[in-house]
Amino acid sequence: MRLLLAAAAALALLCAAPALASEQHPTQDELEAMLVCPSCHVPLDESNSPVAQQMKDFIAKRIAQGATRSEIVDELVGPPNNFGPSVLGVPRTHGFDLIAWVIPFAAIAVGAIGIGAGAWYWSRSRGSPPADPGVAPLDPAMERRLDEELAHFDG
């Protein structure tokens, strides 16, 4: 058990290390991929608009100054540049933006519950099938004839 826990911890550390390195030493490419041009609304790495060029310059300068990924992103979203959360390619996973991550899963859960409830209601309301009113009972002569035919086949 201890061995399993140690392995899990080592795996977690192994996964966390690149994320931590990316946070502390972000690259130009990764930041350009995660940000969006505020005027043309395409990823920064695909935009050549004037403001996109300004943002790229800003990112390069801040990376050279040793800023972390969060610092650079925060400075573009909030003060001093104040572009707002619309420059983020994906919503943040904290604060108000967390709603954007939660709502799709909540919608799926609500949908699944709705479908389940609907299926349950439908299966209960069906009950036993009613007798087919379109089939009239055979008259005695026809029934006798049918029996004879069947006996002929059996014989």
Binding site: P50, V51, Q54, D57, P79, N81, N82, G84
Partner: protein, 178 residues
């Protein structure tokens, strides 16, 4: 099943109400088009961060003065071409109750600051980083200039592209007399 129908109808009604509210509160483009038709309309309120220095500046704080609002950007060539005239006119009217205010459109702050420094702009500029205020005014590009009277109303003319001295004078005089 009836409850599900009620919930679905409720969701549809809520979405419709949201759409109606958005349409009713979105005056995008209306100020510019109204002023272009010769109408006098209430200026959209704003409270934006200053490009240089700290803090924000609200339009309401300038009530009682005529405000010449110029939308600009540092990468905009016509803005550079008209800047000397704006500087000159701002200086001329400074002691006559007329304030010039630049609204910088969607820029990294340091680029806007360099522009203001390079062109020795003598008046304040605020940053409209997400173009929300430009949208409320109905601005379609830079530069564009509006004139706001002492009561906070936008008066004609609305100058699109480079502001000529005569147009600036006419706008200021109209706002002063409104």
């Amino acid at each position: 099943m009836r409850a599900l129908r009620v919930i679905a109808a409720g969701v549809v009604c809520a979405l419709l109400a949201l759409l109606v509210w958005d349409v009713a509160h979105n005056s995008g483009g209306k100020v510019a088009s109204d002023v272009d038709k010769g109408r006098i309309v209430k200026a959209p309120a704003f409270n934006l961060p200053r490009v240089t220095g700290n803090g924000k500046l609200s339009l309401a704080s300038l009530r009682g003065k005529v405000v010449v609002v110029n939308f600009w950007a540092s990468d905009c060539v016509p803005c550079k071409d008209e800047q000397a005239e704006l500087n000159k006119t701002a200086a001329k009217w400074a002691d006559k109750g007329v304030v010039f205010l630049g609204i910088d459109e969607v820029e990294v702050r340091s680029f806007a600051q360099k522009y203001l420094q390079h062109y020795k702009v003598p008046y304040l500029s605020v940053a409209d980083a997400d173009a929300a205020i430009a949208g409320k005014f109905g601005v379609t590009g830079t530069p564009e200039t509006f004139f706001i009277d002492r009561r906070g109303r936008v008066v004609p003319p609305h100058i699109v592209s480079i502001a000529k001295p005569a147009d600036l004078e006419a706008g200021i005089r109209r706002a002063l007399s409104a």
